[in-house]
């Protein structure tokens, strides 16, 4: 176990090309391990508590905004699974988000179906189906596809969907589908506000816990291996391409769930939602927060959306420029994202099953 861990660590500087940063955080991780503290659960707990009390202290219009952020965080989680854990660069994650949004919008418009127990599974299923089709096509096959092909293929898929949505009259063309009726549960209508907020937060927490379980499982370990050194994982006998397709489909399903929530929350869908704009936005969230940690995706979403909401009143024009500069700085100097300021490399990768005491001991023995 510890052998593969060190292999994982060795592979990281090679991938990122910024050796010094990694070395620094690694040193920090050792210090934390010796001190016997765990940062990750603390961070997760703080975020959860903040999210729980937010509607109580925020004004109504800010609660609506916070709901949107939570939905986008769910979406970011889907991208983080695919890129942060499995190392598949999906530049077209919005395809699953948006197609599910369009799907539930059509259900509501043409068939008058708004029951929450029908539309959310439907959206998830749409995301899953599209991800299976696209992922199956791009990832499976006799020859493993190159990373470049997969990333550009997903980007192209998203762009093509955008063009299709813009040109197809049935989908509303440029304007999209406006005024979608509210999501219902029996006679209750979910309109914007605290109820919707807590519904979305509940879904996020459940999905988050499922993802956390997934990435800490044997499957998650194999995924991390894929990200760090695909060939080695293949030599171990794993079907690397199948693993990738599975995680890609799971990511698509989560994106679909987020997309259907988004459609009902905003009350409309429009072509950008399947396109390159939203696809790259989610990449921004995850890179900022820190890919490869689930909480990093959530934090990144909250920070990027929060700051842009705050700045957009006064600095609407230059905010995207600032965003670009910050993104560049993060990529160059903090490839592991903002979360790496508080979280050590070892916690980020995780200890995978072995009890912490043991690994601590091993670590002390190993270090002279």
């Amino acid at each position: 176990m510890s052998k593969s861990m060190s292999a994982v660590k060795q592979a990281i500087p090679a991938e990122i090309g910024g050796g010094t940063d990694v070395a620094m955080t690694e040193g920090g991780a050792t210090a934390q391990a010796v001190a016997g503290r765990k940062i990750l659960p603390v961070v997760e707990g703080v975020v959860l508590v903040a999210a729980l009390i937010a509607p109580l202290v925020l004004q109504d219009y800010l609660t609506v905004f916070a709901t949107r952020v939570i939905i986008l965080a769910l979406f970011a989680l889907s991208f983080d699974l695919v890129w942060g854990y499995a190392g598949i660069m999906s530049f077209g994650q919005a395809l699953f988000f948006g197609s599910a949004g369009y799907g539930v919008a059509l259900l509501a418009r043409d068939l008058d179906i708004t029951n929450i127990f029908l539309v959310l599974p439907a959206g998830t299923l749409i995301g899953l189906t599209f991800a299976l089709l696209l992922g199956g096509f791009l990832l499976l096959g006799r020859h493993p596809s190159s990373v470049i092909f997969v990333s550009l293929g997903t980007l192209t898929g998203s762009y093509a969907a955008d063009r299709l949505a813009r040109g197809w009259y049935y989908l509303g063309g440029q304007n999209g589908i406006p005024s979608i009726s509210s999501m219902t549960l029996g006679g209750y209508e979910f309109s914007e506000g605290p109820a919707f907020y807590y519904l979305v937060l509940g879904i996020l927490v459940v999905v988050y816990l499922l993802c956390r379980f997934l990435v800490r499982s044997q499957f998650g370990l194999a995924l991390a291996g894929l990200r760090e050194n695909e060939q080695r994982i293949a030599f171990f006998g794993y079907k690397a391409q199948h693993l990738k397709a599975i995680i890609f489909a799971i990511g698509g399903a989560i994106a679909g769930l987020a997309g259907s929530l988004y459609a009902f929350h905003e009350g409309f869908v429009w072509p950008n939602m399947v396109g390159v704009v939203v696809s790259t936005q989610v990449v921004l969230y995850v890179l900022f927060g820190g890919s490869g940690t689930l909480i990093g995706a959530v934090i990144g979403t909250v920070i990027v959306e929060g700051v842009s909401f705050w700045l957009s009143d006064n600095y609407r024009d230059i905010w995207p420029i600032i965003l670009g500069v910050l993104l560049l700085l993060v990529i160059l100097f903090r490839p592991l994202g903002l979360i790496s300021f508080v979280l050590g490399e070892r916690e980020r990768v995780g200890s995978f099953g072995a009890s912490r005491k043991e690994t601590d001991k091993e670590k002390r023995h190993a270090a002279p």
Partner: protein, 285 residues
């Protein structure tokens, strides 16, 4: 007959524009292994410089001549400061160049506002052949594209600069051992690719007018063209650009434009899936 001729001209001229845009992208992708997401913004900058020259009352052609040099210089600086750090990791390079592109695009958007600014054609009017009229400027673009293509080919295949460039691409350590300064060659290659993008932007701005998302429009088409043609040579991306440009201009004549638009991408991705090495494989020129 006349209709068919006009259609053929339209297709040819759009194909030429795509080739012109893909040239720079292809050189950077083939020679350096980087898919430059900021390439669309280099095109935009070239267009913007041309517009600036026009707005300041200078002759338009002066802006068109200046654009490739200025954009090339910017490319050289950016390579030395930023792009250089990305060579080991292609995905990180995509993200980094995307961030660069975002900065450039939004800066230009801030400068021009949300408008569509028109720049007149330096060579206006039309060429009349019998009863048919074709735009003189579009014809000029085709001619310039051909000249640039031949020029690039000769530069890469016949000059010592081209030889050193290809040596750096094929075997960097051997190139270094032979006394070639590889960092300088990478810088020069990137600057050259950016300059071509600047030229493309300058030439197409009279046709498409200037707006902030001008570059984005062609970026994905360009990537697809490079992959269809095959990364690793000069001719591959050019051939890919010809195919993609011709297809995207020709298909709308025989089916609904929406379907044609999407079909081109689907066909291209399917083609790349089953022939990952592209139309023209192998490392020639």
């Amino acid at each position: 007959m006349a209709n068919a001729f006009v259609a053929a001209f339209e297709i040819l001229s759009f194909g030429a524009i795509i080739v012109l845009i893909v040239l720079g992208l292809g050189i950077i992708a083939s020679m350096m292994g980087i898919f430059n997401f900021a390439q669309g913004e280099f095109v935009l900058l070239g267009a913007y410089i041309t517009y600036l020259a026009y707005a300041k009352g200078l002759p338009i052609w002066a802006g068109m001549v200046a654009a490739p040099f200025l954009v090339g210089a910017l490319g050289f600086v950016l390579e030395a400061l930023i792009i250089r750090r990305f060579y080991a990791a292609p995905i990180v390079a995509m993200l980094g160049t995307y961030a660069l592109g975002l900065i450039i695009r939004e800066s230009v958007r801030g400068l021009i506002g949300g408008f569509y600014l028109t720049v007149p054609e330096p060579i206006g009017g039309s060429i009349d052949i019998g009863t048919m009229h074709i735009s003189a400027w579009r014809f000029t673009i085709i001619v310039i594209t051909l000249l640039v293509m031949v020029g690039c080919y000769l530069l890469l295949s016949r000059t010592s600069f081209g030889l050193r460039m290809r040596a750096t691409l094929e075997n960097p350590s051997l190139a270094r051992a032979s006394g070639i300064s590889t960092p300088l060659m990478y810088g020069a290659t990137f600057a050259f690719g950016s300059a071509l993008a600047g030229l493309a932007g300058a030439l197409i701005v009279p046709v498409f007018s200037l707006y902030a998302d001008l570059g984005i429009r062609f970026l994905i088409q360009g990537f697809v063209a490079v992959m269809v043609g095959g990364v690793g040579s000069f001719i591959g991306p050019v051939a890919g650009a010809g195919v993609i440009g011709t297809l995207s201009a020709a298909l709308p004549w025989i089916m609904a434009p929406v379907v044609a638009d999407v079909l081109v991408f689907v066909l291209a991705i399917a083609f790349i899936k089953f022939r990952p090495q592209g139309l023209i494989a192998g490392k020639g020129v």
